[in-house]
Every structure is written in structure tokens, then in C-alpha cells.
């Protein structure tokens, strides 16, 4: 792991019932960048994220956060804000009670300083504080989900398809927020299927394919490599070249 890497992943493998979800993944996420993990369905994006969070126990390999291995640990998660793809909350609690629970959990932990309530306010969550979580719409739940991830002003944000299910206005607010994070020196790791969104926000791209990082480099690297100005086309070109050329060879620009 290099000095300003926030996440270091080495040779990470995980199988689910014989299917290899992650196949010897090695990656680094540098501090202060927005890294986007792209890839088709079942390419291992979510498993990768869940390994970092300790939700999935890898079969092999290690994940480091800053300098410490995360295996068997839980306190390191005080430094992470996580937004899952979708969330269901306890039906009979109110919005206020949910936020109180999450604050309560982090209360005595180091690294939980001032709260960042910007999203909470801009998403209008204070107005629905007394509503039961069970009656909220999917979009509102997703806004709560986002507000929770940013609430503790964590140095690392992990967002799993953050804008899916949000209305356009909320999606814009969230994208602005993600950009602010980078400006403030925080690190963001996100997955997305929306290439436009990635192009707009990400510095660095990891394209996962069949459990491996098929491409790992900056957007400019990708453009240069494929001489395609459009990200979407560059990815397609990359996949086509891989299929016709030496298959199975990873295109890791950063190391070359």
C-alpha cells in the first residue's frame, strides 16, 4: 500500500456456491479521489464493496483501510459512510428515531465529530421526522439512505448506485454533494451503471468483469488507450479488443 491510499486490496477472492464473485482482485483507492466501479451485473462490484465493509468475508486476500487490515474489526467503520443500493428500515420507527439510533451507536466512538446535516436538510427530512418509516416511498427511503451516509462527515464514502431511485432534483443535489466531498479532501468510492454520471464525477475508473478489475485507471488513460473521446464507447472498445486479442489479460494502465 502506498502512502496516500485509503483502501488497499490485495488478491481478494470470494466464491458463492462455486461461482467466483471475486477472482484475485488487487486495487488501491487513493485519498481525495472519486473512484467509480463500473461493470455489468454480477461482475463483482457489490461483493467488492461488501468485502471492504466487512459484510462479506473473503475466502482469500486482504483489505486494508489506511494502514490496518479490516478483518475481524468493526471500529474502522466509524470512518466510513455507506449508502446501500436500497434500504428498508424498521417499519414502526419514525425517521427521527432512526437518526437517533444511528447517532447513538456512534456516540462514544473516536472519529465521530461534527455532524453534516446538509443532505438531511436539503432533502427535507426534518419535515417528515415524525413519520413512520414503513409508510415512506422508495425515493424518500433512498434520500434517507443518502443522508445517513453523509451524516457523520466520514473521510471515506462508499456509495452503491447512489442516484438510482432518486428524482432528478435529488440526484443533482447528491451529485453536488459528492463533488463537494472531493473538494474537501474526502475519498469517495461509488458504483454506477450510469456512464454519464461517472464521467461527470469520477477521477478514476475500475471496470470489473467476471470478478476481476478489467481496467483500472483514470478516465483520460482510458480515452488515450482506446482513442475514443466518449467514455461509453471507450469501454465498449476496450471490451471488444479484449475479446479479439489476448483474452484474460488485464489492462492495468496505472502499473504500466
Amino acid at each position: 500500500m502506498r502512502e496516500n491510499d485509503v483502501i488497499g486490496i490485495e488478491n481478494l477472492s470470494k466464491s458463492f456456491g462455486g461461482v467466483r464473485a471475486l477472482d484475485g482482485v488487487s486495487l488501491a483507492v487513493r485519498a481525495g479521489t472519486v473512484t467509480a466501479v463500473l461493470g455489468p451485473n454480477a461482475s463483482g462490484k457489490s461483493t467488492l464493496i461488501k468485502c471492504i465493509l466487512g459484510l462479506v468475508n473473503p475466502d482469500e486476500g486482504e483489505v486494508h483501510l489506511e494502514d490496518a487490515p479490516v478483518k475481524g474489526e468493526w471500529r474502522y467503520r466509524a470512518r466510513i459512510g455507506y449508502m446501500p443500493q436500497s434500504a428498508k428500515f424498521p417499519e414502526n420507527l419514525t425517521v427521527d428515531e432512526l437518526f437517533a439510533l444511528l447517532k447513538d451507536i456512534r456516540k462514544d466512538l473516536p472519529g465521530s465529530g461534527a455532524l453534516d446535516t446538509e443532505l438531511y436538510e436539503r432533502f427535507g427530512l426534518s419535515a417528515i421526522g415524525r413519520r413512520r418509516l414503513g409508510v415512506l416511498s422508495g425515493g424518500t427511503r433512498q434520500r434517507i439512505n443518502a443522508a445517513i451516509a453523509f451524516l457523520f462527515a466520514p473521510p471515506l464514502l462508499i456509495l452503491d448506485e447512489p442516484t438510482v431511485g432518486l428524482d432528478p432534483l435529488s440526484a443533482v443535489i447528491l451529485r453536488d454533494k459528492i463533488r463537494d466531498q472531493r473538494a474537501g479532501g474526502r475519498t469517495v468510492l461509488l458504483t454506477s451503471h450510469l456512464v454519464g454520471e461517472v464521467e461527470e464525477m469520477a477521477d478514476h475508473i475500475v471496470y470489473m468483469l467476471e470478478g476481476r478489475p478489467f481496467f483500472d485507471g483514470s478516465i483520460d488513460d482510458l480515452r488515450r488507450l482506446t482513442s475514443e473521446p466518449k467514455l461509453e464507447r471507450a469501454i465498449v472498445r476496450l471490451m471488444e479488443e479484449n475479446r479479439s486479442g489476448a483474452s484474460g489479460q488485464n489492462t492495468d494502465v496505472r502499473n504500466s
Binding site: 470470494k14 458463492f16 461488501k50 465493509l53 466487512g54 459484510l55 462479506v56 468475508n57 468493526w74 471500529r75 474502522y76 467503520r77 466509524a78 466510513i80 455507506y82 446501500p84 436500497s86 434500504a87 428498508k88 428500515f89 424498521p90 417499519e91 414502526n92 420507527l93 428515531e97 439510533l101 444511528l102 447513538d104 451507536i105 456512534r106 462514544d108 466512538l109 439512505n145 445517513i148
Partner: protein
């Protein structure tokens, strides 16, 4: 430990507002009240109530526990991504569920006794033992439900397995015991029978309550032997230890399984 308590508190907050639990409480309350009005003397009310309790409490704990755990799966994922350890989450959730269900059970069955003025005096002990054994069953079968829901990713399998278990323990097991007694009636079967009864927490609970009522005399020679063993200090200690064991095994297995699980 502090984190487990926090989670427990919120679980209770969530659960006491659950329609299912409130419905269960009202149902128990109504059943107890009806048994009182039409059952005549309170001793018979306790006996009838015991049969209801030992049938319903394990079933409700198993089914509600399994369904509840499955339905909170996505929220568990969010909790697991917070700085909390898995032991605190699992034990907090289990304790919260058990506490809420226990409360409902205690109110539903205990309240009518109090209202009818049997909270004190002769019947207090009998009602207390019924409530105590009922609470033990709530704890045991809630733990089994959480274990099943942790082990089986598939809801149908999880729910199916707990319903099968309930059917086996509350019907099939007794049938097999009766068959065995019938087959071995020429032999001194009483001691093995006592051991076999102990292997089923529902039967064990039933014996413990029955012995508090005066009807064990109706059970003849076997009843007398049961009374001799289960009524003694050793018998009480052994049966209590067994009930604790029946709770501890699924709690520990469930916790181990939850700690290793991929979400």
C-alpha cells in the same frame, strides 16, 4: 455490551408498535378471559390456559421470530455497515424481540388473573410458574427462530423448518412417546420416559406446570413418579438447567452462524 443495549432498546420501540404483536396480545387476553368466564374455578382456567399457551407460544415465537428476522435483513445490512460488532447486533436484536414478545405474553395471560383477583394467595404461585415456563418457551423458540432465519437464506426453507419443528415437538413427539409406552408397557418404562420427556422443552414445561396443579394425582403411578422426581429439589434444578440449555444452544449456534455469515 453498551451497543447491544442500544439496539435492544430500538428493537423494542419498533416491535411494541407492531400490529402482529399487539394482535397476539389481544388474542391471548381474550383467550384467558374467556377461559376464566366459562372455565369455572381458576385451577381449571390455569389448566386450559396451559394447553393454549404450550401450543400457541412456541408457534408464535417461531413464526413471528423467523418472519421478523427475514424482514429486517436489509436493515441489518445497514447496521452491519455501521461501527458495531456483529455480536452486539445479533444479541441486541434477539433480546429486543424476546423482551417484546415476553411482555406481550405476560400481559396477555397474566392480566386477567390479576383482574379477577388471583394475583395473590393460593393461585399466585401457580400463575407465576405458568408465566415463568411460558417466558422460558418464548426465549427458547425465539432463539430457534433467529437461528433458522440466519442459517437459511431462503425464507420458505427457514419458515418451513420452524413449522416442522413445532409440529414435531407439539404433536409427533408425544405420539411417539405414547407408542413407546404402549409397546413397553410390560417393562418399567417410567425412568426412560422421564428422560425422554425432558428432551422436549414443551413437554418439560408442561410437566413443570402440571405438577403445580393438583391434578397430577389423576395421572396414576407414572404421575406419582413424575411428582417424586420433578417435585424434588434435584428435579427442579435439573429441569431448570435443561430449559437454560435449550435456550443457550440455539443462541450460541445462531450467534456463531451470524458472525460468519455473508450479507
Amino acid at each position: 455490551m453498551g451497543q447491544a443495549v442500544k439496539i435492544l432498546t430500538y428493537e423494542i420501540h419498533n416491535l411494541v408498535r407492531s400490529r402482529w404483536l399487539i394482535g397476539m396480545g389481544v388474542l391471548l387476553l381474550a383467550a384467558t378471559e374467556v377461559l376464566f368466564r366459562f372455565g369455572g374455578d381458576p385451577s381449571r382456567a390455569v389448566t386450559s390456559l396451559m394447553n393454549v399457551v404450550f401450543l400457541i407460544v412456541p408457534l408464535v415465537s417461531l413464526v413471528l421470530g423467523t418472519v421478523y428476522f427475514y424482514s429486517s435483513r436489509e436493515f441489518n445490512e445497514l447496521l452491519l455497515a455501521q461501527p458495531v460488532n456483529r455480536t452486539a447486533i445479533y444479541l441486541g436484536k434477539l433480546a429486543g424481540f424476546t423482551a417484546a414478545l415476553s411482555l406481550v405474553f405476560a400481559l396477555g395471560t397474566g392480566l386477567p388473573f390479576l383482574l379477577h383477583g388471583y394475583g395473590l394467595g393460593d393461585y399466585a404461585g401457580k400463575v407465576a410458574i405458568l408465566l415463568l415456563v411460558g417466558e422460558a418457551l418464548v426465549i427458547i423458540f425465539s432463539a430457534v427462530a433467529f437461528l433458522a432465519a440466519t442459517r437459511y437464506e431462503d425464507r420458505v426453507k427457514g419458515l418451513g423448518s420452524v413449522i416442522l419443528l413445532w409440529f414435531f415437538l407439539s404433536a409427533v413427539y408425544d405420539g411417539l412417546l405414547l407408542l413407546a409406552v404402549h409397546a413397553f408397557h410390560r417393562y418399567p418404562y417410567e425412568t426412560p420416559l422421564m428422560a425422554l420427556v425432558m428432551l422436549n422443552p414443551i413437554d418439560l414445561g408442561r410437566i413443570l406446570v402440571l405438577l403445580q396443579l393438583d391434578i397430577s394425582a389423576l395421572m396414576g403411578f407414572t404421575g406419582a413418579l413424575f411428582r417424586k422426581f420433578y417435585g424434588s429439589g434435584v428435579g427442579t434444578a435439573v429441569s431448570s438447567a435443561m430449559l437454560v440449555l435449550y435456550a443457550a444452544i440455539p443462541i450460541v449456534l445462531g450467534l456463531l452462524s451470524f458472525r460468519r455469515k455473508d450479507f
